[in-house]
Symmetry: C2
Subunit: 196 residues, 2 copies
Protein backbone atom coordinates (compact mmCIF):
# COMPACT_ATOMS: atom_id res chain seq x y z
CA UNK A 1 0.00 0.00 0.00
CA UNK A 2 1.53 3.25 -1.12
CA UNK A 3 2.38 6.08 1.19
CA UNK A 4 0.73 9.42 0.54
CA UNK A 5 3.26 11.55 -1.31
CA UNK A 6 6.75 10.44 -0.40
CA UNK A 7 7.94 13.88 -1.36
CA UNK A 8 8.95 13.84 -4.98
CA UNK A 9 9.18 11.44 -7.86
CA UNK A 10 6.53 8.93 -6.95
CA UNK A 11 3.08 10.27 -6.42
CA UNK A 12 1.76 7.96 -3.76
CA UNK A 13 -1.65 7.11 -5.13
CA UNK A 14 -1.88 8.43 -8.61
CA UNK A 15 -4.80 6.26 -9.60
CA UNK A 16 -7.06 7.77 -6.98
CA UNK A 17 -5.78 11.24 -7.80
CA UNK A 18 -6.62 10.71 -11.45
CA UNK A 19 -10.13 9.60 -10.62
CA UNK A 20 -10.65 12.61 -8.43
CA UNK A 21 -9.27 14.97 -11.06
CA UNK A 22 -11.46 13.35 -13.68
CA UNK A 23 -14.54 13.84 -11.54
CA UNK A 24 -13.71 17.50 -11.05
CA UNK A 25 -13.08 18.09 -14.74
CA UNK A 26 -16.33 16.35 -15.54
CA UNK A 27 -18.26 18.72 -13.31
CA UNK A 28 -16.42 21.82 -14.46
CA UNK A 29 -15.93 21.45 -18.19
CA UNK A 30 -18.51 18.87 -19.14
CA UNK A 31 -17.77 15.57 -20.73
CA UNK A 32 -15.74 16.93 -23.61
CA UNK A 33 -13.24 18.55 -21.27
CA UNK A 34 -12.18 15.23 -19.84
CA UNK A 35 -8.81 14.46 -21.41
CA UNK A 36 -6.04 12.31 -20.06
CA UNK A 37 -3.68 15.23 -20.41
CA UNK A 38 -5.93 17.53 -18.42
CA UNK A 39 -6.27 14.86 -15.75
CA UNK A 40 -2.52 14.51 -15.61
CA UNK A 41 -2.04 18.26 -15.36
CA UNK A 42 -4.51 18.51 -12.51
CA UNK A 43 -2.84 15.62 -10.72
CA UNK A 44 0.46 17.47 -11.08
CA UNK A 45 2.07 14.76 -13.11
CA UNK A 46 3.44 14.24 -16.61
CA UNK A 47 1.02 13.66 -19.46
CA UNK A 48 1.79 9.98 -19.88
CA UNK A 49 1.86 8.99 -16.24
CA UNK A 50 -1.83 8.03 -16.07
CA UNK A 51 -1.15 5.31 -18.62
CA UNK A 52 0.51 3.36 -15.83
CA UNK A 53 -2.90 3.03 -14.20
CA UNK A 54 -5.36 3.18 -17.11
CA UNK A 55 -4.95 1.36 -20.38
CA UNK A 56 -6.47 4.23 -22.32
CA UNK A 57 -8.95 7.06 -22.04
CA UNK A 58 -11.86 4.66 -22.25
CA UNK A 59 -10.58 2.75 -19.22
CA UNK A 60 -10.41 5.98 -17.25
CA UNK A 61 -13.99 6.98 -17.98
CA UNK A 62 -15.14 3.44 -17.30
CA UNK A 63 -13.57 3.67 -13.86
CA UNK A 64 -15.26 7.01 -13.25
CA UNK A 65 -18.55 5.56 -14.46
CA UNK A 66 -18.23 2.67 -12.05
CA UNK A 67 -17.86 5.11 -9.19
CA UNK A 68 -20.94 6.82 -10.52
CA UNK A 69 -23.01 3.65 -10.36
CA UNK A 70 -22.10 3.19 -6.74
CA UNK A 71 -23.00 6.78 -5.98
CA UNK A 72 -26.29 6.41 -7.80
CA UNK A 73 -27.14 3.32 -5.79
CA UNK A 74 -26.36 5.22 -2.60
CA UNK A 75 -28.56 8.13 -3.63
CA UNK A 76 -31.46 5.81 -4.40
CA UNK A 77 -31.30 3.90 -1.17
CA UNK A 78 -30.97 7.21 0.65
CA UNK A 79 -34.18 8.40 -0.99
CA UNK A 80 -35.92 5.32 0.31
CA UNK A 81 -34.32 2.06 1.39
CA UNK A 82 -37.23 -0.18 0.46
CA UNK A 83 -40.16 1.49 -1.26
CA UNK A 84 -43.43 -0.32 -0.85
CA UNK A 85 -45.97 2.08 -2.35
CA UNK A 86 -46.22 3.89 -5.66
CA UNK A 87 -45.57 7.18 -3.88
CA UNK A 88 -42.36 5.87 -2.37
CA UNK A 89 -41.38 4.52 -5.76
CA UNK A 90 -41.98 7.98 -7.18
CA UNK A 91 -39.68 9.44 -4.54
CA UNK A 92 -36.91 7.12 -5.66
CA UNK A 93 -37.56 8.10 -9.25
CA UNK A 94 -37.23 11.75 -8.33
CA UNK A 95 -33.91 10.99 -6.67
CA UNK A 96 -32.73 9.18 -9.81
CA UNK A 97 -33.58 12.10 -12.04
CA UNK A 98 -32.10 14.58 -9.62
CA UNK A 99 -28.87 12.61 -9.59
CA UNK A 100 -28.72 12.93 -13.37
CA UNK A 101 -29.43 16.65 -13.31
CA UNK A 102 -26.98 17.32 -10.49
CA UNK A 103 -24.09 15.50 -12.20
CA UNK A 104 -25.00 15.67 -15.87
CA UNK A 105 -21.55 14.96 -17.22
CA UNK A 106 -21.07 12.02 -14.88
CA UNK A 107 -24.46 10.61 -15.79
CA UNK A 108 -23.69 10.91 -19.47
CA UNK A 109 -20.35 9.24 -18.96
CA UNK A 110 -22.18 6.40 -17.27
CA UNK A 111 -24.66 5.86 -20.08
CA UNK A 112 -23.93 7.91 -23.14
CA UNK A 113 -20.96 5.95 -24.36
CA UNK A 114 -21.05 2.40 -25.60
CA UNK A 115 -20.24 0.24 -22.63
CA UNK A 116 -17.53 -2.30 -23.08
CA UNK A 117 -19.34 -5.52 -22.15
CA UNK A 118 -16.04 -7.04 -21.09
CA UNK A 119 -15.67 -4.49 -18.32
CA UNK A 120 -16.74 -6.52 -15.34
CA UNK A 121 -16.51 -3.59 -12.97
CA UNK A 122 -19.27 -1.83 -14.85
CA UNK A 123 -21.21 -5.04 -15.32
CA UNK A 124 -21.19 -5.71 -11.61
CA UNK A 125 -22.28 -2.17 -10.81
CA UNK A 126 -25.22 -2.29 -13.20
CA UNK A 127 -26.18 -5.69 -11.86
CA UNK A 128 -26.45 -4.06 -8.46
CA UNK A 129 -28.82 -1.42 -9.81
CA UNK A 130 -30.87 -4.12 -11.52
CA UNK A 131 -31.10 -6.05 -8.28
CA UNK A 132 -32.19 -2.97 -6.40
CA UNK A 133 -34.93 -2.20 -8.91
CA UNK A 134 -36.04 -5.79 -8.82
CA UNK A 135 -36.42 -5.60 -5.07
CA UNK A 136 -38.42 -2.40 -5.35
CA UNK A 137 -40.82 -3.86 -7.86
CA UNK A 138 -41.28 -6.90 -5.72
CA UNK A 139 -42.16 -4.64 -2.81
CA UNK A 140 -44.47 -2.27 -4.65
CA UNK A 141 -46.19 -4.69 -7.00
CA UNK A 142 -46.10 -8.12 -5.43
CA UNK A 143 -47.60 -10.72 -7.68
CA UNK A 144 -47.13 -8.84 -10.91
CA UNK A 145 -44.80 -10.15 -13.61
CA UNK A 146 -41.57 -9.14 -11.94
CA UNK A 147 -39.19 -9.28 -14.90
CA UNK A 148 -41.23 -7.18 -17.28
CA UNK A 149 -42.26 -4.74 -14.60
CA UNK A 150 -38.70 -4.34 -13.40
CA UNK A 151 -37.45 -3.40 -16.83
CA UNK A 152 -40.44 -1.13 -17.25
CA UNK A 153 -39.71 0.70 -14.02
CA UNK A 154 -36.03 1.10 -14.72
CA UNK A 155 -36.64 2.18 -18.30
CA UNK A 156 -39.29 4.69 -17.28
CA UNK A 157 -37.10 6.32 -14.69
CA UNK A 158 -34.02 6.19 -16.89
CA UNK A 159 -35.94 7.72 -19.76
CA UNK A 160 -37.27 10.48 -17.55
CA UNK A 161 -33.73 11.29 -16.52
CA UNK A 162 -32.48 11.47 -20.09
CA UNK A 163 -35.38 13.50 -21.40
CA UNK A 164 -34.90 16.03 -18.64
CA UNK A 165 -31.18 16.07 -19.26
CA UNK A 166 -31.67 16.82 -22.93
CA UNK A 167 -34.15 19.58 -22.35
CA UNK A 168 -37.00 17.59 -23.82
CA UNK A 169 -38.97 18.16 -20.66
CA UNK A 170 -39.22 21.22 -18.49
CA UNK A 171 -36.24 21.15 -16.15
CA UNK A 172 -36.16 24.82 -15.21
CA UNK A 173 -36.89 24.33 -11.53
CA UNK A 174 -36.30 21.34 -9.29
CA UNK A 175 -39.91 21.52 -8.22
CA UNK A 176 -41.13 21.24 -11.79
CA UNK A 177 -38.90 18.23 -12.30
CA UNK A 178 -40.15 16.53 -9.17
CA UNK A 179 -43.74 17.18 -10.09
CA UNK A 180 -43.33 15.86 -13.60
CA UNK A 181 -41.48 12.76 -12.52
CA UNK A 182 -43.94 11.99 -9.79
CA UNK A 183 -46.90 12.52 -12.09
CA UNK A 184 -45.43 10.35 -14.80
CA UNK A 185 -44.58 7.50 -12.45
CA UNK A 186 -47.97 7.59 -10.80
CA UNK A 187 -49.74 7.84 -14.12
CA UNK A 188 -47.91 4.76 -15.33
CA UNK A 189 -48.07 2.61 -12.23
CA UNK A 190 -50.46 3.96 -9.65
CA UNK A 191 -53.30 2.49 -11.62
CA UNK A 192 -51.53 -0.82 -11.91
CA UNK A 193 -53.08 -3.08 -9.31
CA UNK A 194 -50.85 -5.06 -7.05
CA UNK A 195 -52.12 -8.08 -8.85
CA UNK A 196 -52.30 -8.04 -12.64
Amino acid sequence: MPQPTTGSYHHGDLRAACLRAARELLEEDGGSGLSLRAVARRAGVSATAPYRHFADREALVSAVASEGYLELAAVLTAAHPAPATPDELAAVAVAYVRFALDRPALFRAMFAEPCDPANEERAAATAAVRQYVHGIVHGVFPGAAPEALSTAVWALVHGLAFLHLDGKLDATSPEAVSAQVTAAVLAAFAVAPTKA
Copy 2:
Protein backbone atom coordinates in the same frame (compact mmCIF):
# COMPACT_ATOMS: atom_id res chain seq x y z
CA MET B 1 -30.06 26.53 -56.35
CA PRO B 2 -26.72 24.86 -56.88
CA GLN B 3 -26.01 22.67 -59.87
CA PRO B 4 -24.69 19.20 -59.14
CA THR B 5 -20.92 19.29 -59.59
CA THR B 6 -20.01 21.94 -62.10
CA GLY B 7 -16.77 20.09 -62.70
CA SER B 8 -14.11 21.38 -60.40
CA TYR B 9 -13.60 24.08 -57.84
CA HIS B 10 -17.08 24.42 -56.49
CA HIS B 11 -18.67 21.32 -55.19
CA GLY B 12 -22.29 21.90 -56.05
CA ASP B 13 -23.95 20.94 -52.80
CA LEU B 14 -21.29 20.49 -50.20
CA ARG B 15 -23.66 20.82 -47.30
CA ALA B 16 -25.66 17.77 -48.33
CA ALA B 17 -22.48 15.88 -49.15
CA CYS B 18 -21.15 16.60 -45.68
CA LEU B 19 -24.33 15.36 -44.06
CA ARG B 20 -24.21 12.18 -46.09
CA ALA B 21 -20.54 11.62 -45.29
CA ALA B 22 -21.23 12.24 -41.62
CA ARG B 23 -24.02 9.68 -41.61
CA GLU B 24 -21.75 7.11 -43.23
CA LEU B 25 -18.92 7.75 -40.79
CA LEU B 26 -21.35 7.51 -37.91
CA GLU B 27 -22.45 4.06 -39.04
CA GLU B 28 -18.95 2.84 -39.81
CA ASP B 29 -16.73 4.19 -37.07
CA GLY B 30 -19.15 5.04 -34.31
CA GLY B 31 -19.63 8.45 -32.84
CA SER B 32 -16.00 9.09 -32.04
CA GLY B 33 -14.98 8.68 -35.65
CA LEU B 34 -17.04 11.62 -36.74
CA SER B 35 -14.58 14.44 -37.31
CA LEU B 36 -14.93 17.44 -39.55
CA ARG B 37 -11.69 16.49 -41.24
CA ALA B 38 -12.88 12.97 -41.97
CA VAL B 39 -16.14 14.36 -43.32
CA ALA B 40 -14.21 16.71 -45.57
CA ARG B 41 -11.97 13.91 -46.81
CA ARG B 42 -14.93 11.73 -47.64
CA ALA B 43 -16.63 14.59 -49.45
CA GLY B 44 -13.44 15.04 -51.47
CA VAL B 45 -12.84 18.54 -50.27
CA SER B 46 -10.29 20.44 -48.21
CA ALA B 47 -10.35 20.16 -44.44
CA THR B 48 -11.71 23.64 -43.85
CA ALA B 49 -14.37 23.72 -46.55
CA PRO B 50 -17.15 22.39 -44.28
CA TYR B 51 -16.79 25.48 -42.13
CA ARG B 52 -18.53 27.39 -44.92
CA HIS B 53 -21.67 25.39 -44.14
CA PHE B 54 -21.36 24.51 -40.45
CA ALA B 55 -20.21 26.88 -37.74
CA ASP B 56 -18.40 24.11 -35.91
CA ARG B 57 -18.46 20.41 -35.26
CA GLU B 58 -21.40 20.76 -32.92
CA ALA B 59 -23.48 22.38 -35.64
CA LEU B 60 -22.70 19.48 -37.95
CA VAL B 61 -23.82 16.83 -35.49
CA SER B 62 -26.89 18.90 -34.66
CA ALA B 63 -27.83 18.89 -38.32
CA VAL B 64 -27.30 15.13 -38.50
CA ALA B 65 -29.36 14.72 -35.35
CA SER B 66 -32.19 16.72 -36.86
CA GLU B 67 -32.25 14.39 -39.82
CA GLY B 68 -32.35 11.57 -37.32
CA TYR B 69 -35.44 12.94 -35.61
CA LEU B 70 -37.27 13.06 -38.91
CA GLU B 71 -36.22 9.52 -39.70
CA LEU B 72 -37.33 8.36 -36.28
CA ALA B 73 -40.72 9.96 -36.77
CA ALA B 74 -41.04 8.21 -40.12
CA VAL B 75 -40.13 4.85 -38.61
CA LEU B 76 -42.70 5.27 -35.85
CA THR B 77 -45.55 6.22 -38.12
CA ALA B 78 -44.56 3.36 -40.41
CA ALA B 79 -44.85 0.96 -37.48
CA HIS B 80 -48.36 2.21 -36.88
CA PRO B 81 -49.86 5.49 -38.02
CA ALA B 82 -52.32 5.86 -35.14
CA PRO B 83 -52.11 3.24 -32.40
CA ALA B 84 -55.29 2.78 -30.48
CA THR B 85 -54.60 -0.26 -28.32
CA PRO B 86 -51.81 -1.19 -25.91
CA ASP B 87 -50.62 -3.82 -28.38
CA GLU B 88 -50.33 -1.29 -31.16
CA LEU B 89 -48.55 1.03 -28.78
CA ALA B 90 -46.14 -1.79 -28.00
CA ALA B 91 -45.48 -2.21 -31.74
CA VAL B 92 -44.49 1.42 -31.97
CA ALA B 93 -42.25 1.01 -28.95
CA VAL B 94 -40.53 -1.93 -30.61
CA ALA B 95 -39.94 0.21 -33.69
CA TYR B 96 -38.45 2.95 -31.53
CA VAL B 97 -36.02 0.58 -29.87
CA ARG B 98 -35.15 -1.08 -33.15
CA PHE B 99 -34.35 2.30 -34.63
CA ALA B 100 -31.90 2.90 -31.81
CA LEU B 101 -30.28 -0.50 -32.19
CA ASP B 102 -30.06 -0.25 -35.97
CA ARG B 103 -28.39 3.17 -35.93
CA PRO B 104 -26.72 3.28 -32.53
CA ALA B 105 -24.28 6.06 -33.32
CA LEU B 106 -26.99 8.23 -34.85
CA PHE B 107 -29.27 7.63 -31.89
CA ARG B 108 -26.52 8.58 -29.49
CA ALA B 109 -25.77 11.70 -31.50
CA MET B 110 -29.44 12.59 -31.19
CA PHE B 111 -29.58 12.21 -27.43
CA ALA B 112 -26.23 11.59 -25.84
CA GLU B 113 -24.84 15.09 -26.19
CA PRO B 114 -26.15 18.15 -24.46
CA CYS B 115 -28.59 19.73 -26.85
CA ASP B 116 -28.17 23.40 -27.55
CA PRO B 117 -31.60 24.75 -26.59
CA ALA B 118 -31.13 27.61 -29.03
CA ASN B 119 -31.05 25.20 -31.95
CA GLU B 120 -34.55 25.62 -33.27
CA GLU B 121 -34.15 22.90 -35.87
CA ARG B 122 -33.73 20.35 -33.12
CA ALA B 123 -36.38 21.95 -30.96
CA ALA B 124 -38.91 21.73 -33.76
CA ALA B 125 -38.04 18.12 -34.47
CA THR B 126 -38.46 17.08 -30.86
CA ALA B 127 -41.69 19.00 -30.66
CA ALA B 128 -42.94 16.84 -33.53
CA VAL B 129 -42.06 13.68 -31.62
CA ARG B 130 -43.78 15.03 -28.54
CA GLN B 131 -46.88 15.82 -30.57
CA TYR B 132 -46.90 12.35 -32.06
CA VAL B 133 -46.64 10.70 -28.66
CA HIS B 134 -49.35 12.94 -27.36
CA GLY B 135 -51.64 11.80 -30.13
CA ILE B 136 -50.90 8.18 -29.41
CA VAL B 137 -51.66 8.51 -25.73
CA HIS B 138 -54.88 10.26 -26.53
CA GLY B 139 -55.82 7.37 -28.78
CA VAL B 140 -54.80 4.55 -26.48
CA PHE B 141 -55.81 5.99 -23.13
CA PRO B 142 -58.57 8.49 -23.71
CA GLY B 143 -59.58 10.20 -20.56
CA ALA B 144 -56.39 9.60 -18.64
CA ALA B 145 -54.20 12.51 -17.61
CA PRO B 146 -52.70 13.19 -21.00
CA GLU B 147 -49.66 15.24 -20.02
CA ALA B 148 -48.30 12.91 -17.39
CA LEU B 149 -49.11 9.82 -19.37
CA SER B 150 -47.46 11.22 -22.50
CA THR B 151 -44.22 11.87 -20.72
CA ALA B 152 -44.47 8.46 -19.10
CA VAL B 153 -44.89 6.74 -22.44
CA TRP B 154 -42.08 8.62 -24.11
CA ALA B 155 -39.77 8.13 -21.14
CA LEU B 156 -40.53 4.43 -20.91
CA VAL B 157 -39.81 3.81 -24.56
CA HIS B 158 -36.79 6.08 -24.57
CA GLY B 159 -35.40 4.36 -21.51
CA LEU B 160 -35.94 0.95 -23.05
CA ALA B 161 -33.98 2.06 -26.08
CA PHE B 162 -31.06 3.34 -24.04
CA LEU B 163 -30.89 0.38 -21.72
CA HIS B 164 -30.78 -1.96 -24.68
CA LEU B 165 -28.20 0.21 -26.37
CA ASP B 166 -25.95 0.07 -23.34
CA GLY B 167 -26.21 -3.66 -22.93
CA LYS B 168 -28.15 -3.33 -19.70
CA LEU B 169 -30.85 -5.54 -21.19
CA ASP B 170 -30.56 -8.60 -23.37
CA ALA B 171 -30.16 -7.36 -26.93
CA THR B 172 -28.62 -10.46 -28.45
CA SER B 173 -31.45 -11.22 -30.85
CA PRO B 174 -34.08 -8.92 -32.37
CA GLU B 175 -36.74 -11.31 -31.16
CA ALA B 176 -35.53 -11.05 -27.57
CA VAL B 177 -35.61 -7.27 -27.83
CA SER B 178 -39.11 -7.25 -29.24
CA ALA B 179 -40.34 -9.59 -26.57
CA GLN B 180 -38.80 -7.58 -23.76
CA VAL B 181 -40.06 -4.27 -25.04
CA THR B 182 -43.53 -5.58 -25.62
CA ALA B 183 -43.67 -7.20 -22.21
CA ALA B 184 -42.44 -4.07 -20.47
CA VAL B 185 -44.90 -1.79 -22.23
CA LEU B 186 -47.82 -4.08 -21.58
CA ALA B 187 -46.80 -4.58 -17.98
CA ALA B 188 -46.74 -0.84 -17.47
CA PHE B 189 -49.83 0.18 -19.41
CA ALA B 190 -51.98 -2.77 -20.36
CA VAL B 191 -53.37 -2.75 -16.88
CA ALA B 192 -53.99 0.97 -16.98
CA PRO B 193 -57.68 1.41 -17.62
CA THR B 194 -58.84 3.82 -20.27
CA LYS B 195 -60.19 5.87 -17.45
CA ALA B 196 -58.03 6.49 -14.38
